[in-house]
């Protein structure tokens, strides 16, 4: 059995020459298949003498193993080649855009309310709400604005039709009626803010018939104007994100507070550009004061025992100042381009720990 060398050479060559998996399979069948050359040789072993059979069998088995190994190696190589070729043909244009996913926006008013809520929450305030269609008592009378008070005319009130009893409801002109509702419902100490819709019959470049205010009310036994200053200075600096923002308190007049103040923040108008912060100018942003004793009494709180402060500011106004939004009226136009530009992505939830605004 010394003629195995030519067979080995031929089979190994055939393996090496197999160009694809089909040809390789043909080589396998030709060599190791049921009718393959090595198999056929195996069958002849039975006719040999025992010693010769052992020797020939050993040689044939070695050849069989070698061919099988070569077949496997060649198969792996051919498979890898085939995969490479297939993948090379499977190329896509990765520069094409992916499937679109629409991105929503949060309105600047909502975002601003969330921001100021985060700040006032840290000073112990909770959020209160109240009806937009309000009784005259809560919107005016209880707030020390009697029917013929000049301040009532300045409110440009929207009226609803008179009711059977002659009274008529109004659209609330400020969020202050919620002060009254809260004091009539809860016992002091009270610390609330009231963000919400307000209505005045005025429509021009700087007035909208609907806008938003946030009201604040603190009632306890000891809060005084020093606390009022502390509370609002902290708010202004946190909201505008300017640690040393100049804040000025100026005497003013509101029927529902005494003493009353208006609050200005520092700004600069150099080059016609308004910038909040240190500068030569002041910009009024809110009104405030100690709750008028008559208002406390009207809401059933004993002014001899309790006192406190209140404040109110326009939400659009502070949003415009912080975010550089030039025109009040655009807030309500629902122009998709405006909303996408000035709106906030939904994941931007304002927190004090993470920062109010990017």
């Amino acid at each position: 059995m010394t003629d195995l060398e030519p067979l080995r050479d031929r089979l190994m060559a055939a393996v090496a020459e197999a160009a694809d998996l089909d040809q390789l399979e043909a080589v396998r069948l030709q060599s190791l298949g049921r009718k393959g050359e090595i198999t056929e040789r195996m069958k002849t072993l039975g006719g040999l003498a025992p010693d010769a059979r052992r020797a020939a069998g050993q040689q044939l088995n070695e050849l069989k193993d070698a061919v099988a190994e070569a077949l496997e190696a060649r198969r792996a190589a051919l498979q890898a080649d085939a995969l490479d070729r297939r993948l090379a043909a499977d190329r896509i244009d990765v520069t094409l855009p992916p499937r679109p996913a629409a991105e929503g926006r949060i309105h600047p008013i909502s975002q601003t309310i969330d921001e100021l809520t985060a700040i006032f929450a840290d000073m112990g305030f909770t959020v209160a709400e109240g009806p937009h269609i309000e009784e005259d008592f809560y919107n005016f009378t209880a707030l020390n604005i009697p029917p013929e008070h000049p301040a009532r005319q300045e409110h440009d009130t929207f009226y609803l039709p008179p009711r059977a009893d002659g009274t008529r409801l109004v659209l609330r002109t400020h969020t202050s009626p919620v002060q009254i509702r809260t004091m009539m419902r809860d016992k002091p100490p009270i610390r609330i803010i009231v963000p919400g819709r307000t209505f005045r019959s005025d429509h021009d470049a700087t007035h909208s018939p609907m806008f938003h205010q946030v009201e604040g009310l603190v009632v306890d036994r000891t809060s005084h104007m020093g606390h009022l200053k502390g509370c609002l200075i902290e708010f202004c600096r946190a909201f505008f994100d300017i640690d040393d923002l100049p804040v000025r308190f100026r005497p003013s007049y509101f029927p529902f507070t005494e003493p009353s103040a208006e609050v200005d923040i520092g700004c600069s108008r150099q080059g016609g550009q308004l910038r909040i912060g240190h500068g030569a100018d002041w910009l009024e942003i809110l009104g405030c004061g100690m709750v008028h004793p008559k208002v406390l009494a009207n809401a059933g709180v004993d002014p001899g025992e309790y006192q406190g402060f209140a404040f109110g500011m326009g939400i659009e106004r502070i949003a415009m100042l912080k975010y550089g939004i030039p025109d009040l009226r655009t807030f309500y136009e629902s122009d998709l381009r405006w909303l996408r530009h000035y709106g906030f992505v939904p994941l931007d939830v304002p927190t004090l720990s993470g920062g109010l605004s990017r």
């Binding site: 499937r99 679109p100 996913a101 629409a102 991105e103 929503g104 926006r105 949060i106 909502s110 969330d114 929450a121 840290d122 112990g124 959020v127 109240g130 937009h132 269609i133 013929e148 000049p150 301040a151 005319q153 929207f158 009226y159 609803l160 039709p161 659209l171 100490p189 803010i193 819709r197 429509h203 018939p209 603190v218 809060s223 005084h224 104007m225 020093g226 606390h227 200053k229 502390g230 308190f249 100026r250 005497p251 003013s252 007049y253 005494e258 003493p259 008028h292 004793p293 006192q307 309500y332 136009e333 629902s334 122009d335 998709l336 909303l339 996408r340 709106g343 939904p346 994941l347 004090l352």
Partner: protein
């Protein structure tokens, strides 16, 4: 209110400069809106001495002048006929901006002669319309100095916002008094004037007011002055009135305006010869009218206070006088009125007639009740001084209403309310300078409030006076004490979940809008309409006249506007109220949204898909889920309101409670609103969604994970068209409660192989074994139960 610095200094002795005065005014609560300081504005225009003026060699009408500016000599070419050597004029150097034209003056040559400046006319300076020639200054005007003081143009004007409570500061003396209290100077004494009357007034005054209306005019002081000469008022008076924005009319009228501004004492002067008989103060009779001094006629009503004579109404108390009895150049005898009118009635009258006057402005805020007689005396003095004549005795009808008020200011109160410990002596000084009479008691001040301060009504007002004058800046800043070391939530669970819904909808690609709570009544009718109670009496415009019964129409209108701008595809939502009625409960908080145009835009990966009702349903479910609604338990009913497409809309209910509605908007509604479809929308009634019950803690239920593989089986049921998918799903769920881990419709098919009128609903069911792997027999048993239950509930059969 406008005041001039020199007028202020009539009342206030002060060395303070303009900036200090303005700053102190603002910090006293009298916000200075604007300061016009002509001296500063005109400082670059100086007195120039024309040294020589010769004929221009190349122009007949021009002269070549050499001007001595005090520092150098400048040649200018001048066309004014009055330009001449030796005169003094107003010189502007090249580089100056001319007030009238706003143009920059440039150096150059005019017809070959150098001109490096300009001699200015009053027209060019914006001082008058006279451009006949250049300003001719007095010969003693100091060369090189600003010209404005020479012409008396150096009186700065301050425009001050007087708050409505400070009627006293609608007179310059009131402002001066505040400044004096704040240490900016000393209030000049103004001793009361008395002009003895030489005869009894031939015009009498009578009240004809019903008892309950006596307050309409509690006091009327009048005085007859005979033999006056009414001409233009003197230059000083005209200049003052002009500076604060009033047009000089005649001496008599200007005098009344002067006292209105000077001491907030409105006066009126009748031409006594035009008054028929006595003056009667009475209520107007409906049907009466008045030709007023402003040239307009007014129809009068019974609530208005008339100043009448024998012929009819000659003035409206506190508002305006009549034309027929007004003073003219020919007036010889006058009757001066100085009265008190009810603030409320005066305001109502003016409002009713749409008439604002300086008198009304003061009376409605409260004129000093003690000023009537003092005012008429001071006015008499000035009339006699400027117009001559002879005064009668003063006729006083009625009486000064009681105005004496005393309040106690506890020594501690400025600190406990105002946060600033002001020594009581300082409080006393401030209050006394403001005109109060102050007495000391053991631990408090007893303060008699002056008559001109009706705004002071209690201790808190006294605290404000002290703080205001002392300065709010001095109040120390105190942080608000923390109740808790760690911040507590500011929002209730009900408020917090609204934010979740908002950000969930935005997370789905929707853009948040904020629209008005009102809308056009016509459109509202398409959305169920509103009752009369929700119709505004005074809408801002006809198309914002009702409270909205739904949030959708404003969003649909917005989508229409966006489409008109070229953006037809959009997803807008709003969280806000709609109004079912005018009660607080009728204000319903809603999360509403719309999608319009295409839901999936045309893309290389696939075709565009228009929005459909399922987009809106998905939005509604997302919002409901964010609100904490058990969305798996929702049932869909087909009774959405009429603004939805009747066949493509539904109502999502938790038991009987409708928590949301969704669907395609009705094409007729869109057409009526002029918006191109398709538009789909949803409305989630936030407060209808029950709040998850707090179980006292945040722990989740224990999690049991099965080690056995879930098994999936698909079913295709043939059901009648009318059978809802929800009914099939419900039947599947009912058939197997323990093992069922999921059920999903993955195909709905109509067509070949499915009989007419029926549809095939293909459902994937996932079973999750709990105790052991499911055997084929167990799975078959579940499947059989599912098939049976679907058959029982819907009549559906397995598709062969």
């Amino acid at each position: 209110m406008k005041i001039t610095l020199s007028w202020l200094k009539d009342h206030l002795e002060t060395e303070a400069d303009l900036a200090t005065i303005a700053h102190r005014l603002t910090m006293l609560g009298h916000e200075v809106d604007a300061i016009d300081d002509p001296a500063a504005r005109l400082s670059s225009f100086i007195v120039g001495h024309v040294v020589s003026a010769v004929q221009h060699p190349n122009a007949d009408r021009l002269r070549v002048c050499v001007v001595d500016t005090g520092g150098d000599r400048v040649q200018v070419v001048c066309g004014a006929p009055n330009a001449r050597a030796g005169m003094k004029g107003v010189f502007a150097r090249a580089g100056t901006v001319i007030p009238r034209t706003g143009l920059l003056l440039k150096a150059g040559a005019i017809r070959g002669e150098a001109s490096n400046g300009m001699l200015c006319s009053a027209y060019e300076m914006g001082l008058s319309d006279d451009h006949e020639g250049i300003i001719d200054l007095p010969t003693d005007a100091p060369v090189g100095q600003p010209f404005a003081p020479v012409m008396g143009l150096d009186d700065p004007v301050l425009d001050i916002k007087i708050t409505p409570n400070r009627a006293d500061c609608l007179g310059i003396r009131g402002i001066a008094r505040d400044l004096a209290a704040a240490g900016v100077g000393r209030l000049k004494a103004r001793p009361p004037v008395t002009v003895p009357g030489g005869f009894a007034s031939p015009v009498g005054v009578r009240f004809d007011l019903p008892g309950e209306l006596a307050a309409a005019c509690p006091l009327y002081a009048g005085r007859y002055i005979r033999g006056v000469r009414n001409g233009p008022s003197p230059a000083w008076l005209q200049k003052r009135l002009l500076a604060v924005g009033l047009r000089p009319i005649s001496a008599l009228v200007d005098i009344t305006n002067f006292f209105t501004l000077d001491i907030a004492r409105p006066l009126h002067v009748f031409d006594a010869d035009a008054v028929a008989g006595d003056i009667v103060v009475r209520m107007c009779v409906p049907g009466e009218s008045l030709e007023a001094l402003n040239g307009k006629a007014y129809e009068l009503e019974g609530e208005m206070t008339a100043i009448a004579d024998g012929d009819g109404v000659v003035g409206l108390g506190g508002v305006i006088g009549g034309q027929g009895t007004g003073c003219t150049e020919e007036t010889v005898n006058v009757f001066v009125e100085s009265a008190l009118f009810d603030p409320i009635r005066t305001a109502a009258t003016g409002r009713r007639l749409g008439l604002q006057t300086d008198a009304r402005y003061r009376f409605e805020r409260g004129v000093d009740p003690a000023s009537a007689v003092a005012g008429i005396e001071a006015a008499t003095r000035m009339i006699l001084d400027l117009c001559g004549g002879e005064a009668s005795e003063v006729v006083v009808t009625g009486a000064e209403p009681a105005h004496a008020r005393t309040f106690v200011l506890r020594d501690s109160r400025v600190a406990t309310l105002g946060g600033l410990p002001v020594p009581p002596e300082e409080s006393r000084r401030i209050l006394e300078t403001l005109g109060a009479t102050v007495r000391r008691s053991a631990d408090a001040l007893e303060v008699d409030v002056p008559s001109w301060r009706p705004d002071i009504e209690g201790e808190a007002d006294l605290v404000e006076e002290v703080l205001r004058v002392h300065g709010y800046d001095a109040i120390p800043v105190v942080p608000l004490p923390r109740e808790h070391a760690v911040t507590r939530p500011a929002l209730t669970p009900a408020q917090r979940r609204v934010g979740h819904a908002r950000r969930a909808l935005a997370g789905r690609g929707m853009v948040e809008a904020v629209t008005f709570s009102f809308m056009p009544g016509g459109d509202a009718a398409l959305f169920g309409g509103v009752g009369e109670a929700l119709r505004l009496v005074n809408p801002i415009s006809a198309d914002l006249d009702v409270m909205r019964p739904s949030v959708l129409p404003n969003l649909i209108a917005a989508a229409g506007r966006n489409a008109d701008r070229g953006f037809p595809d959009g997803a807008l939502f709003e969280i806000g109220a709609h109004y079912a009625d005018d009660t607080p409960e009728g204000q319903v908080l809603v999360a509403a949204g719309i999608r319009s145009g295409t839901a999936v835009e045309r893309h290389w990966t696939g075709p565009a898909r228009p929005v459909d009702a399922y987009d809106a349903k998905g939005d509604a479910l997302a919002a409901l889920s964010a609100l904490g609604a058990p969305v798996d338990n929702l049932q869909t009913s087909l009774d959405a309101p009429g603004w939805y497409h009747p066949g493509r809309s539904g109502v999502l209910r938790l038991g009987p409670i409708a928590v949301a509605r969704f669907g395609e908007l009705h094409p007729a509604v869109l057409q009526a609103m002029g918006v191109k479809g398709p538009v789909v929308g949803f409305e989630v009634m936030i407060d209808a969604v029950p709040l998850p019950r707090g179980k006292g803690g945040h722990a989740r239920p224990a999690l049991t994970l099965s080690p056995f593989q879930p098994v999936g089986r698909d079913f295709a049921f043939l059901v009648d068209e009318a059978v809802s998918a929800e009914a099939v799903l419900r039947a599947v769920r009912a058939a197997e409660r323990k093992l069922l881990a999921g059920v999903r419709i993955f195909d709905v098919y109509r067509g070949p192989g499915v009989p007419e009128g029926r549809k095939s609903v293909a459902v994937e069911v996932v079973l999750q074994p709990v105790g052991a792997t499911l055997t084929e027999e167990e799975i078959d048993a579940v499947a059989a139960r599912i098939v049976a239950q679907v058959a029982k509930a819907t009549g559906g059969v397995l598709r062969g």
